[in-house]
């Protein structure tokens, strides 16, 4: 798409603006965007994009912006407006509070909403701890069903031991 201002260069900057209740979408090339005084660092572009993008999507889904403004993260006090204006989040919990908005934003800026890759070491340990307990509990149920009470007692003690060790580690 060509720049809507100079009609010469390829448009690389897309700006959504709500002016007097009317949504306007502007497609500009880098040069014209600079002429319009727009900062072209990614964070600033992202912030502008977020502002327009969220206003647009919320008008569609809620019909009124007043509803959205009341949402605040209980943990850090960051509001929906803070998020919209800064493009940043206040704490890890904000990702839950603004979950639905983030799904839209992340889909657009990252092209995905599902993490693939590394997990923290502590989480790996947690996953393997939970897996081990689940496997033993399964063994315990089977031992009881098969009336192998000596095995069941041994497995029960083992689960207890692992749980206690897990609690100590935490």
């Amino acid at each position: 798409m060509l720049c809507q201002n100079c009609n010469e260069n390829q448009a690389t900057v897309f700006v959504h603006r709500i002016i007097n209740g009317q949504e306007r979408e502007l497609h500009l090339c880098e040069e014209c965007a600079k002429q319009f005084g727009m900062q072209l660092s990614f964070d600033e572009l992202f912030q502008g994009f977020l502002d327009g993008f969220l206003s647009h999507n919320h008008r569609q889904s809620f019909g009124s912006e007043n509803l959205i403004k009341t949402r605040v993260c209980d943990k850090c006090g960051f509001s929906y407006d803070d998020f919209k204006n800064s493009g940043k989040l206040g704490c890890g919990e904000c990702y839950k509070v603004f979950h639905d908005d983030l799904l839209l934003v992340l889909k657009n800026i990252q092209g995905s909403v599902k993490h693939i890759g590394k997990v923290p070491v502590k989480n790996i340990a947690k996953v393997s701890f939970e897996n081990k307990i689940a496997r033993l509990e399964n063994d315990l149920r089977r031992a009881i069903n098969e009336e192998k009470y000596e095995d069941a007692a041994r497995i029960r003690d083992e689960i207890k031991k692992i749980r206690e060790a897990g609690n100590l580690n935490e």
Binding site: F42, C76, K88, L89, C91, G92, Q110, H115, K122
Partner: protein, 343 residues
């Protein structure tokens, strides 16, 4: 005198388009608000929790801690110029500090935009080792403390542009021909379609200098660390090929070749004989020498590699090495003296 070799003490640095490989991981602790919302006490508590982990021991060699309280403005500026700390960190007035290893290949910023920014840098094409360095530190921290992490969104960061892997991998490239021909702008547009971006020498929000650019991934979510690095490597190779093609074209035509040769030797001539010189002009002239050197001309007569020259002529490092604060005019004179002393 510190005898440990720095990552940039590499004779081959500046003889190739690809200068260095860099990896940065953004991490936050679960129990604190993100840096932007931390009050001073919380920031100090957060920092001391992480320092405790480091004191228990890291396998990545000796790390020195530089807190904001015991680092002068000039030292901070010098560390920024060496890419040990970011612009955001430099400007942050809240409690902060960073760890750095002796070879300066690894630094860990505390209370940057995110609580922890682990970054590692290796000379030349060595991104896998850069990743291993950062990854090891990350594993030690995450085995002892709870990160803000979500099964769907991955590592949670202050800005959603970093969420997921929190990984920014980058290659530092010297691209004078793409820059001068105006082709770099088009290339930037093309690579943005592959989730990559091009930034200045010192990263986000900084101006390019001496035709040095950082090519890095923009997308951090939905791709594994391995895939991000693989894609970055492919895109970077395409950029290098384009720069090489332009360089080869100059040498094909005898007139162009003599003009080119004349220019790079003149640049070296100015550097060797000037009595005062500003940072930007020095960077442009050193960039010419780097290009000539890379293309097989015996133009570099400096005692140290050209990339190191580029760092050492920066205002902060110049003042740090002289041990005093200087005005701009004084710096320009000292810069010219320094360049001469390196011949």
């Amino acid at each position: 005198m510190n005898s440990v070799k720095k990552w940039y003490d590499n004779e081959d640095l500046g003889k190739d388009i690809l200068i260095s490989s860099r990896v940065r991981l953004a991490r936050n602790l679960k129990d604190y608000p993100f840096s932007m919302l931390l009050n001073k006490d919380q920031a100090r508590d957060m920092i001391s929790e992480i320092i405790d982990i480091f004191e228990e021991g890291m396998s990545s060699g000796k790390l020195n801690y530089m807190s904001a309280d015991n680092t002068s403005d000039i030292d901070e500026l010098a560390n920024f110029e060496q890419n040990n700390i970011s612009q955001y960190f430099l400007l942050n007035k809240n409690p902060k500090g960073f760890f750095i290893n002796e070879s300066e290949s690894l630094s860990i910023m505390l209370n940057e935009e995110d609580h922890i920014r682990i970054q590692s840098i290796c000379a030349g094409d060595d991104i896998n080792n850069a990743f291993i360095l950062s990854d090891n530190v990350d594993n030690v921290i995450s085995s002892k403390i709870d990160y803000a992490f979500d099964d769907d969104f991955g590592f949670l960061t202050s800005c959603p542009t970093n969420v997921g892997t929190g990984l920014r991998a980058s290659f530092m490239l010297h691209l004078p021909m793409l820059e001068k021909s105006g082709q770099l702008k088009n290339l930037v547009q093309i690579i943005s379609k592959f989730g990559m971006t091009v930034r200045g020498w010192h990263g986000e929000g900084t101006e390019p200098m001496g035709s040095l650019y950082q090519v890095s991934n923009q997308i951090t979510l939905g791709k594994s660390e391995r895939d991000i690095i693989k894609n970055l490597r492919n895109v970077t190779q395409q950029i290098i090929d384009q720069e090489l093609k332009l360089r080869e074209n100059i040498l094909k035509d005898d007139n162009n070749k003599i003009d080119f040769e004349d220019k790079i030797y003149r640049s070296f001539g100015i550097l060797s004989n000037c009595k005062k010189i500003g940072t930007r002009e020095t960077m442009n002239l050193l960039s010419d020498v780097m290009l000539g050197n890379c293309m097989g001309f015996d133009v570099n007569k400096f005692k140290i590699n050209i990339y190191k020259m580029m760092m050492y002529i920066q205002p902060g490092l110049l003042q740090k090495n002289l041990g005093c604060k200087l005005k701009e005019q004084e710096r320009d004179i000292e810069r010219a003296k320094f360049i001469k002393s390196m011949l």
